[in-house]
Structure formats: C-alpha cells, structure tokens
C-alpha cells in the first residue's frame, strides 16, 4: 500500500516541512495514515472496480433480471470460490517474486488423495474432517516440496513448480487410476450443502480465506517480509531477513491454498478426480496479474486479486447467460489480460518518472 509522493510535496522546503510536522503535532501523521490506504486502494483498484461494473452492466443489459438476481450472484461466487482461494495463495508467491505453476495439479492431487477408499473409510469411521485434513496435508506437503527445491535446492521457481505440476497430476492419476472417486461420506457432503445466512459454504470459505489473506499481507510481519523478499531479495537478506526460509513458507502457503481448493472441489463435485483443477494455475496467475500484483514481485494486492477473479468469473457468467461460446470468452479474457498489464506498466512508469 505504498503511496507515491507527489511532486508538489517533494518541493516543500525541508525547514517548512519540519515546522509543519512540529506545529500540527500528530495530526498530520494521523491525517496521512487515514488518507493513504483509502487513496492508495481506491487509486489502484478503481480501474478494476470500473471493469467489474462494466462487465456487470453488460450482463444486466443483455440478461436483465436473470443476471441481477441473488441466485445468479451466488452462482458467480460459487464458481469464483475455488479459483479465488488459490489465487490468494498465488498472490503471496508472486508478490514474493516467485511463481507457482503447480496449484492446479495440487487441487487434483489433494482432491484425489482425500477421496480414496481408505481415506473415505476413515472419514466414515472417525469424522468427516479426516478428508479435509488429508487434502490440506497433501497441499501443504506439495508446497513444502516446491519451497525446499526453490529456496534451498536453488531450482528456478518456474522449473520446480512445472515439475510439480506434471508430477502431481501424474500421481493423482496413479492414485485414482484415472477414475472418478465418488465421495460417499454423507457428513462431508452435507457440510458443503449448508448455506449459513443463505450464502453457500464455498463462498464463506472464499470470504474467510480472502480476509485472512488480506490481514496476512497487509498487517503482519509475514506480509512485510513477502513484499521485501519480492521487491529486493538481496536488500531483504542484508537487512537480516531469512529470505530462504520465507521463500519456503510462501510456496507452502500456496500449496495449502491449493489443498483448500481441493477440499472445495471435492465438496462442490462430490467426486475426486485427477482432472480437477486442470489449468487453474493459468487462470490464477491471470487473475493475480490483472488484479495489479506485479509479476516481478514486490507489490501485491489481495483486493485486486479478488476483483480480478470476480471479473473473470462474472465475464464467464455473462457469456453463458448470452449463449456465447467459451472460445469468444477466451479471446475476451486475453484482451483483458493484455490491457491490464499495459495499464500496470504505464502506472509503474509514471511513478518512476517522479524523480
């Protein structure tokens, strides 16, 4: 949430600035604190909000009540939930200067592992949450493997996670024998049929993960380290931050998010399949980048990521409402990604030009 100083404030002579700060006591500081997050968030996310509103407007104009109904809103959010959760994990990795291509496969692997006959038997014997913990452990484990390879094994993130992407998918196929494993743990499926306050379970999970992610990135030392490691790993290291360990944590976090995604997929489809989450990593990266997180690292925004996910899923919904093909939608998505990245570069250049 950095705020670029305006040229005007830069030109205030030093003496005056000091005097003003002393004169008005803490007030200036308070003002600035209150103003900055608002202005920063609004400034950065305004474009995304406008884009989302535009998509919604198109939806409303073309599909009317069908689009603007509560049920449809929930349909959009349910569709967004799995992608949203892994995109939040991905936001941390990308902000930290990395990339995680394995999340889609890890969704598949964790959903398969959590729905094997053995796991389901245990879940029926003990508690349905056995399946949840299995999926989370699988996701976390895959993430830790990624993290250790990248941080301590010095394997480039792109390669390490590409390897995990291929291997996890293969392992999922081996475990499931390429078949769909139907969940026959009624307690598990029932949990995902709940809708507290009329809002489906998947959407609640998405919301909780988003809030936790926001707090983690913006309000904790973990988030600050993430920005530092992504912005300038050498500077972070020379400031005493354990860059390797933190890098490992980032991939573990992303793996955990993919594990949560696996559970959600299992809840939504009541079936574990090795094809679950296929190519979700690309959608997640697209949503994160469109959201305004720098692909090069050093700046990340959870709000932007959530908006990015919502733009893409709402777009999908509008296209379906209007009977338009997925292919046309893919073209629209591509255009959105390119436009968003060009805009990002413009903004970055402008901020740099204020020397």
């Amino acid at each position: 949430m950095s705020e670029h100083g305006t040229p005007a404030s830069a030109r205030v002579p030093a003496a005056d600035e000091t005097a003003r700060i002393e004169g008005s006591g803490g007030k200036t500081a308070v003002d600035r604190r209150m103003r900055n997050p608002l202005r920063g968030a609004a400034g950065r996310n305004l474009g995304l909000v406008i884009a989302l509103l535009l998509v919604c407007l198109v939806g409303f104009v073309t599909a009317g009540e069908r689009f603007a109904s509560f049920d449809n809103l929930m349909t959009i959010l349910r569709l967004a939930a799995v992608l949203g959760v892994i995109s939040i994990g991905m936001t941390f990795v990308i902000t930290g200067g990395g990339i995680d291509l394995s999340v889609g496969s890890v969704i598949g692997l964790s959903s398969v592992w959590a729905s094997t006959l053995a796991t389901q038997t245990m879940a029926n014997d003990f508690h349905w949450s056995v399946m949840v913990f299995t999926a989370l452990a699988v996701g976390l484990g895959a993430g830790v493997v990624n993290g250790v390879l990248i941080a301590y094994g010095r394997v480039v993130a792109f390669i390490a996670t590409l390897a995990m992407m291929v291997a996890a998918r293969g392992l999922a196929e081996m475990i499931a024998n390429r078949q769909t494993q139907v969940v026959r743990v009624p307690a598990f499926s029932d949990v995902f049929r709940l809708a507290p306050l009329g809002i489906p379970m998947l959407v609640w999970i998405f919301a909780v993960v988003a809030v936790v992610g926001w707090v983690l990135l913006n309000r904790t030392t973990f988030g600050r380290r993430t920005v530092a490691v992504g912005g300038n790993p050498e500077a972070a290291r020379l400031a005493g931050i354990n860059v390797k360990r933190h890098t490992m944590y980032l991939y573990a976090l992303s793996g955990l998010a993919a594990g949560i995604g696996g559970v959600m997929m299992l809840g939504r489809t009541t079936a574990g399949s090795s094809t679950n989450g296929l190519y979700y990593e690309l959608d997640a990266i697209a949503a994160v980048v469109v959201g305004g997180t720098l692909l090069a690292g050093g700046r990340g925004t959870i709000v932007g990521t959530v908006l990015g996910v919502l733009i893409f899923t709402t777009l999908t919904n509008v296209f379906t409402q209007n009977n338009l093909s997925i292919s046309a939608q893919a073209v629209a998505k591509g255009v959105i990604i390119v436009v968003a990245v060009i805009l990002q570069q413009r903004i970055a250049e402008r901020s740099r030009a204020v020397t």
Binding site: T18, R224, G231, R237, L238, G240, G298
Partner: protein, 508 residues
C-alpha cells in the same frame, strides 16, 4: 595541465535560456551553457539541479519549452536522439547503453549499420571499429569480442567508440568514472585528452571535485534548474566557492575532526584469520568502540568481500568474527544482525533498498519484526521511529511515505544509515558510503559517522576514494589482491604511499 592552445575560444555549442517544464515541476528554468571546441567542460550541480534533464535536452530525448541551442553558431532543433547524433552530439549515459549480446563492432554501428543492398558490410565495420579503438588508445580490444564479456571500463570505451563512429564533435559523459577504479579512471582521462586534442568537446559530469580539477578546463554550475555560474576556470576556482554555488550554503567540505579513540576503549569487533577462497586470505583486525578502521585497495582487492563476509552474507572458508568477545555464527546474516553488526552495502539500489516501498518501511526493514505485536505490524511506531530518524539525519524530502526510488543518492544512503541507527548496532560496516552522493550530502554523512563513533559504535569503511578512507579512519588496512599488505594509523600514511603499497603487493 590545462594548456590554452588545446581549446580555442570558438564556442562549438551554445545553449541559451533553456526551460523545460514537466507536469508539476520546472526541471530547467533558464540554463545557459557554452562549450568550446577541444575543451573539457564540467557540469556541476547537486542531484536534482537539472543536469540529467539538460543532457537529455542536448541529446534530443527531451524538447525544451523555451531557449535556443546553437551548434557552430547556427541555431538547431534536436528533435530526437538520432538527429542529435547526426548533428555530432553524442551522449554516454550513466547506465551504459551497450548491448551485451552483440560484438564490439556491432555495438559501434548499432542503428547505423554499414550496409549495402540490405546486407551488413561486416568487414568494413570491423575495419573502422579497429581504427576507432586505436584512436581511443585501446587496440587491445577486438572488434569481434562480445561486449558482455568486457569490464565496465571496456564497455565505456565501446560507448565512446560509438560516439566517434558518428563523428561526434560534442560528447556528453554522465558520471563516467562512477563505475571505474582509479587505474581505469586514469585511462579514461588519457582517452578524454586524446579526444580533446583532436578538437572534440567533452561535457563532463561528475560529483568528484578532485577529478574535475584534474581533467576539466572550465566549469558551469547548475542549481535548481538555473545556471548560477558559467565558464569558471577548473583549476583555480576554490572548492569552498564551488560548494557554495552548488548548495547555496557554505558547507565544511573537510571531514570533521574526531577526538582520538580513548586508550581504554574496549575492542568491539574482532576478525581473526578470515579467508574466503578466491577472494581474500588471512585477514585479521580489531575495531575498538568509537574507532573507524578503513580498508583501502583497488576494485578486486577483496575489500567489499571482506565486509560481506564479516556480515555473514558470504560464508568464510576459515576464520572467525567476534563481537564484544562473543563469536558470531559464520555465514548467517541473521546471526550477524543479532550480534549487532550492520552493513550499508556498496550497491544501494540493488542491495540495500526496496525502491518502490515508502521510506519509512525501508528504514524499519531490520526492525519491523521487533516492533510488531505477535506478528501484527505496529505501523504507527514504525512511522514515528522513521520520522525521528528523518529529522535527526535531515533526510530530504522529509515525507516518510515517499518511495525510496525518488530520493537522491545521498538521501538513499541516509535511509540505510537510519535503518541501522534504529536497529542500534555495535558495528557498522560502510561500503562506499559516498558513491553517487553529492557534495552537500557527503559532508552530512561524514558527520553521521562522527556522531556514531562518539556513541561508541565501531565502524569499518571501504571506499575507492583513498582520500576518503584516510580522512575518515583512525587506522587503515591496505589490501592488495586479497591480502593485507599494511596496517597502521591513517595519519601516518598518504594516498601515494597507499598506491605504492598496493602496487608492491600485487608485484609480490
């Protein structure tokens, strides 16, 4: 050293009343510059005085809003960089704009390849490149060599060669010595004299006053986008006068005198038998509380590597580092920081700062975890601490929310110093503390070092400016090819002696 027959009085380049307005800022507000053929004309000014904008206007990268540019007495418009080159004005930027993957010859003729019928004439280009390199006194560089394999000095030669390939009559050099060590600087000066003797005018920008005295003929001083003095004789204008013109203040350029280190001051940092394979061997020294120890030597003598190893950023092959009598775990920055060691690294931008993060977060980068409550950041405290440091160090602009990128070199250095001041350290390692720092801020940084020692901090300084090392330090270690060749009080040695020791060391 400046002979009048070298430069004629004929002005080859005149810039009159140049104004350049950017949104929200008037970068140039009436600049006059007159450069004669065959002279080295130095452009002096603090960061932000408008030097960079001026040379961009001259190169055609920016268009002036007002004012006139005359070449050989006739007004010209330099609409874009290529037009500038055609008119004979070439610019060598600080960040050398050579293409690493291409050969020397290809770089020289980049953008104006010698070609006939769409085919590049490689042989002709090679031939002419060879001539140009000879003119620059570097027949040793092969035209076929890949530029990426050359040193910074070599790349600079290529960059100059490119200017000559355009038959440039005016060459602008933006801080050409910033990336060079003293030997390479000497060579650079030889090339510059060679060029001026052929009637080429050189506009030379540098922060180093001693260089300007050595190579310059006349000086133009810029301040706040205006020319405050033009055509000053480089050899005879007093330093104090130049500083006054640049800063508008009178600054004591001299390094502040510090009281001698108390005889009973305890040893804080103890380095024993430290070696790093391929970099340096068997380095031992002590630093007492309040003492400054300098490491002098050329680039490649291992001086920066020693600091990084003491700091744990590199893992020593052998040897130990101790602070206040306790050994510090080797190869761990975290352990060094916990033991109270701080490092202001050589490359501020790439090793020290989060350029796109606000100043206050850069200041608290080593301490935010300490001020946090159960992992939740305490930003109010961070800002308050940062603000205290900003005031104490007179960091300008004083806005803690400005991004670090927008600060000048001197203020970026202050941010790094502030980081360790907030952290509170027993040992501060300074690697090139004044590189790219203008004269005013330099004096302030020296002042901060003096304050720190007064508080009992042990300081180790590395600088490629031997004068600075000698001036700041109580004791000096002279390094040559990774070995300590001399240890002694700084007052008992001078620059020439240091260089002699370095040469003897490398001959041995």
């Amino acid at each position: 050293m400046v002979t009048d027959d070298r430069s004629t009085d004929r002005p080859i380049l005149q810039m009159r009343g140049i104004v350049k307005q950017f949104p929200g800022a008037r970068a140039l507000d009436g600049v006059d510059l007159e450069v004669r053929a065959g002279e080295v004309h130095c452009l002096l000014g603090q960061n932000g005085a408008g030097k960079s904008t001026l040379i961009k206007v001259l190169a055609g990268a920016h268009q002036p809003d007002e004012g006139q540019i005359l070449l050989d007495g006739s007004p010209v418009t330099i609409a874009h960089p290529v037009a500038g080159l055609k008119l004979g004005v070439a610019t060598m930027y600080q960040e050398l704009d050579v293409v690493d993957g291409l050969s020397v010859a290809e770089n020289l003729y980049l953008g104006h390849e010698l070609a006939s019928g769409g085919f590049t004439q490689r042989r002709a280009a090679t031939q002419r490149t060879r001539e140009i390199l000879r003119r620059l006194g570097h027949p040793d560089i092969s035209p076929h060599r890949e530029v990426g394999s050359l040193s910074a000095a070599g790349k600079q030669i290529v960059s100059m060669g490119r200017a000559l390939s355009h038959d440039a009559r005016v060459i602008v050099m933006d801080e050409p010595s910033a990336v060079l060590d003293s030997e390479e600087v000497a060579n650079l000066f030889r090339v510059v004299r060679e060029l001026t003797s052929q009637g080429v005018a050189v506009v030379y920008i540098s922060h180093r006053l001693e260089e300007i005295r050595q190579i310059g003929d006349r000086i133009t001083v810029l301040k706040d986008g205006r020319t405050v003095a033009g055509g000053l004789p480089a050899a005879s204008t007093p330093t104090a006068e130049l500083i006054r013109l640049m800063t508008g203040r009178t600054v004591e350029y001299a390094i502040p005198r510090r009281p001698p280190v108390a005889a009973d001051a305890p040893t804080v940092l103890k380095v024993e038998g430290l070696s790093l394979r391929g970099e340096f061997t068997d380095v031992s020294f002590d630093v007492r509380a309040g003492e400054v120890v300098g490491l002098a030597g050329l680039v490649g003598s291992g001086r920066s590597e020693i600091l990084e190893t003491v700091f744990g950023a590199r893992r020593a092959t052998t040897g130990t580092v101790g602070v206040d009598g306790r050994a510090v775990r080797a190869g761990s920055v975290g352990a060094a920081v916990r033991a109270g060691i701080g490092l202001c690294p050589e490359e501020r931008k790439s090793q020290g700062l989060l350029l796109d993060e606000p100043v206050y977060r850069n200041i608290t980068l080593s301490t935010f975890a300490r001020t946090a409550n159960a992992s939740f950041l305490d930003e109010p405290t961070e800002r308050r601490t940062a603000r205290e440091q900003i005031e104490a160090l007179d960091l300008r602009p004083s806005d803690p929310d400005r991004t670090a990128r927008t600060l000048s070199g001197g203020n970026q250095q202050k941010v790094l110093l502030a980081r360790w001041l907030v952290h509170g350290c027993r040992v501060l390692l300074l690697d090139e503390p004044t590189r790219g720092v203008d004269v005013g801020a330099r004096a302030e940084i020296y002042g901060i070092v003096a304050q720190l020692t007064a508080q009992g901090v042990a300081v180790v300084v590395v600088s490629s400016e031997i004068e600075e090392v000698l001036g700041l330090s109580d004791r000096v270690l002279v390094l040559s090819e990774g070995r300590v060749v001399h240890t002694g009080p700084a007052s008992a040695i001078d620059e020439h002696r240091v260089l002699d020791l370095v040469m003897e060391g490398s001959a041995a």
